[in-house]
């Protein structure tokens, strides 16, 4: 096991890079998952929560009981945020969507309302023609429509505002139908995000750490020296592969165990399938790394390839941005990348797509096929590169005794 020991010695020097990746990933993934695990699931909860996530800012210059009623109506549904009445602050808050609309209730609001004038009664600033902005406008219009109707019914503006506020608490008869099976309870979407992001970090950490080690092992002069030693070349390959497997599986296990902590115990049901999916993907990451190190021997190029492969696949295959938001052209190109199938399998498991075990198997097999293709390519490249006849020329004397 001489080669295995040397491999581990070299790996030891690089292990801090892997730990850096692992540490940063867990540092970001754990708070994110903890933050998103509190969401409710019932129909009423979703309506309430959807609105309460929308921020709104109100500048009430009229400051009358009527304007306060209107502000209260919005405050009951939305999150009211205090902002400085300054163009720069308002612009930033609207652009970055910390508030979706900034409402100004001008002086004379109560008087106009009393007359039943509701057209353009408040000033509203918004940046994006978004769903949030549309919902807010819809609620505001409903409020003033109801107030003006009550006023037309003979009520004064304040009573009309109070009556409208009460009337608008009415709930619609909503039925939530689920066409997907409920088997994803063991693998909820919030938690599935952890495994989704793992597609990026596994590739980045494995290439970034393992490639330099394999490059050191494949250094031409060392490799030629090893080739002409008494060591059987298949034994050499086996030991290097064993070393690589120990590292890759070790990194994968750290993520799986950290996932268990987030999960809140031992995985159940479909979560184990997600673990299997990530294991196959880990093999793909390992095979890509071994392939790269077979023909690249420059750290700068490895760094570039690592960024291109890990970030490229993550952006194009739906790791950082959900697949449903990506363009059709991007997804067509992404089909030729393993991360695309990893994410597809993850979507089947978390219930984003209707679960189908045949499809899941198919996706995992496609991922595995990438690993097999990479392994075959590595054998071809390695044979051509290292098992050819010995170099005819020496570039420099190995030892200078002068």
């Amino acid at each position: 096991m001489q080669i295995f020991k040397v491999f581990m010695k070299v790996l030891k020097k690089r292990i801090r890079y892997a730990m850096l990746y692992v540490g940063i990933f867990l540092g970001i993934a754990i708070p994110m998952s903890l933050n998103s695990s509190n969401s409710g699931s019932t129909a009423e909860m979703f309506v309430k929560e959807s609105r309460s996530k929308i921020g709104i800012c109100i500048f009430d210059e009229d400051d009358t009981p009527e304007s306060r009623e209107f502000s209260d109506y919005l405050a009951e549904k939305y999150t009211i945020k205090e902002l400085k009445n300054d163009e720069e602050v308002v612009m930033d808050s609207l652009f970055y969507m910390s508030v979706d609309r900034v409402i100004s209730i001008n002086k004379g609001f109560a008087d106009r309302l009393a007359k039943g004038e509701t057209e353009g009664i408040i000033d509203s600033r918004h940046m994006h023609e978004s769903y949030n902005s549309m919902l807010l406008e819809q609620d505001i219009n409903s409020y003033f429509s109801s107030v003006s109707a009550y006023i037309a019914g003979g009520e004064d503006a304040l009573t009309a505002s109070q009556s409208a506020k009460e009337a608008l608490t009415a709930d619609a008869d909503v039925k939530v139908i689920s066409f997907t099976d409920e088997g994803n309870a063991d693998y909820p979407r919030d938690f599935a995000e952890y495994y989704r992001y793992m597609a990026y970090i596994l590739i980045a950490a494995v290439i970034g750490t393992l490639c330099p080690v394999l490059m050191a092992m494949n250094n031409k002069e060392i490799r030629y020296r090893t080739n002409c030693s008494s060591l059987d070349s298949s034994s050499y390959t086996k030991q290097v592969l064993l070393g690589s497997a120990v590292f890759v599986i070790g990194v994968w296990l750290i993520f799986v165990i950290a996932g268990m902590i987030l999960y809140g115990g031992v995985y159940k049901g479909r979560a184990w399938l997600a673990v299997l999916n990530s294991f196959i993907y880990t093999l793909v990451a390992g095979s890509i790394t071994v392939f790269l190190s077979a023909f690249v021997n420059n750290m700068d190029i490895i760094n570039f390839i690592n960024q291109a492969v890990s970030l490229g696949m993550s952006f194009m295959c739906g790791v950082f941005v959900e697949q449903e938001l990506l363009g059709a052209g991007v997804l067509s190109a992404a089909r030729f990348m393993p991360a695309f199938w990893y994410i597809k399998a993850n979507m089947l498991l978390d219930g984003t797509e209707t679960f189908d075990s045949t499809k899941l198997m198919q996706y995992m097999l496609i991922e595995a096929a990438f690993a097999v293709v990479m392994a075959l390519l590595t054998i071809v490249v390695s044979k051509a590169r290292y098992n050819s006849t010995a170099p005819q020329k020496r570039t420099a004397p190995a030892v200078n005794n002068g």
Binding site: F46, V47, S50, E88, V89, M91, D92, L94, F95, Y96, S98, R101, I103, T118, E119, I121, D123, S124, R125, H126, M127, H128, S130, Y131, L135, E137, Q138, D139, N141, S142, Y143, F144, S145, S146, S148, A149, Y150, A152, G153, G154, S163, A167, A170, D171, A172, D173, V174, K175, V176, I177, F179, N298, D300, N303, F315, F320, V321, L325, L326, V330
Partner: protein
């Protein structure tokens, strides 16, 4: 001697592979990936589109049809309605072709599958019917003679919001990733700045040792190195802006020359920051690189490179930080060119950049001059 040093600084600088990668190739790669990933998100996920809705009429409701007809007259109507039977509606819902089914009978009811904003808007629409019923019922109890007036009011279209226009620029929130990309390249300039100190500190490089015992005044060689780094970094900034605007077609507004000015000044700021940091301590080269990169990336994180809303969150809680964080200042100068028609915010960000640059450069020069080495 100045031009001789400058020439060789540039020649050697452009031959550093890591420089070419991190300051030229990596931004191109990352920018392309941003474009691929975020190109459609604003339109697909943020902007409102008519909500596809199936309507199943269990009994005739002329008023409902009238409301739907009036809604469909808008440019971007609230609902895109398809009248159908229940089986077909269910099929459409299952296939995700509609966001919900409205059942029209004596009362309205709604069936949905997902729980997103589409469905909340549909629910609000359906609720409005219940509200109208309650208002008419309340009026009937109090003063039946006013019912017609109330019905007339309820059938009127209300537009209570008088919209105040905010900007003529591109409000796509994902464009800010490209502002931050440019800010990131500017901050990577700190590594270029760091190289100046490494090449001039005798304890860090052979070149530094050679320079320290050469007859060229340190001020001349240092200024030549600084000028060379500024030129190299400016070239990177120009490449980055040109690529994002002309190849990726990112809209920076109609004041492109000023975008180049802001980006170049940002790059010079980055170089000065690296020069300052490299000068004020005697850490090893690796330690300096590690710390400078960590500080630069943290600065970019605060400006929103990794998490788009970060700048907005800071603006809400610690607004002064946005005004001094170098990456935010660079990104914000580009943001202000796009979003504001006047120049006050842009000028204030440019002045901040110039002040940080001047302070870092002056401090770097002060601590470098007369530095002596007892032995090496």
């Amino acid at each position: 001697m100045f031009f001789h040093d400058l020439k060789y600084m540039l020649l050697s600088g452009f031959r550093i592979k890591s420089f070419l990668f991190w300051l030229m190739l990596f931004p191109i790669l990352l920018g392309t990936l941003f474009k691929v990933a975020f190109g459609n998100v604003y339109e697909n996920d943020v902007l409102f589109r008519s909500i596809p809705t199936a309507v199943v009429e269990t009994s005739d409701n002329a008023v409902f049809r009238q409301v739907i007809d009036s809604l469909e007259e808008a440019d971007e109507p609230l609902l895109a309605v398809e009248y159908t039977d229940e089986d077909n509606a269910m099929q459409l819902l299952k296939e995700g072709k509609v966001s919900g089914i409205i059942y029209v009978g004596d009362k309205l009811s709604l069936s949905v599958t997902e729980q997103k904003m589409d469905q909340v808007i549909l629910k609000t629409f359906v609720e409005q019917y219940g509200v109208n019923e309650k208002i008419i019922k309340d009026t009937a109890e109090k003063d039946p003679s006013k019912i017609q007036a109330v019905v007339d009011k309820l059938s009127e279209d209300v537009s209570a919001c008088k919209d105040i226009p905010m900007t003529h620029g591109d409000p796509d929130i994902y464009v800010q990733y490209f502002y931050n990309l440019i800010a990131m390249v500017a901050m990577y300039g700190s590594v270029t700045g760091l190289h100046i100190t490494v090449q001039n500190q005798a304890n860090l490089s052979a070149l530094g040792a050679r320079k320290n015992c050469s007859p060229t005044p340190k001020s001349v060689s240092m200024l030549a190195d600084l000028a060379g780094s500024y030129i190299m970094q400016s070239a990177c900034m120009i490449l980055c802006v040109t690529f994002t605007h002309f190849v990726l077609k990112i809209d920076f507004g109609d004041r492109l020359p000023l975008v180049y000015v802001a980006a170049i000044l940002g790059g010079i700021l980055g170089v000065s920051f690296g020069f300052f940091f490299g000068s004020v301590n005697r850490f090893s080269f690796e330690a300096k690189i590690g710390i400078v990169m960590a500080v630069s990336m943290f600065s970019c994180f605060l400006s929103g490179l990794m998490m788009g809303q970060m700048k907005g969150i800071i603006a809400e809680h610690i607004p002064w930080l946005n005004k001094i964080n170098p990456a935010t200042v660079v990104a914000d100068s580009l943001f202000s060119l796009n979003m504001y028609s006047d120049y006050s915010r842009f000028i204030s960000r440019i002045i901040t950049m110039l002040i940080i640059t001047a302070v870092c450069t002056a401090a770097g020069i002060i601590v470098t001059r007369r530095k002596k080495y007892a032995d090496l």
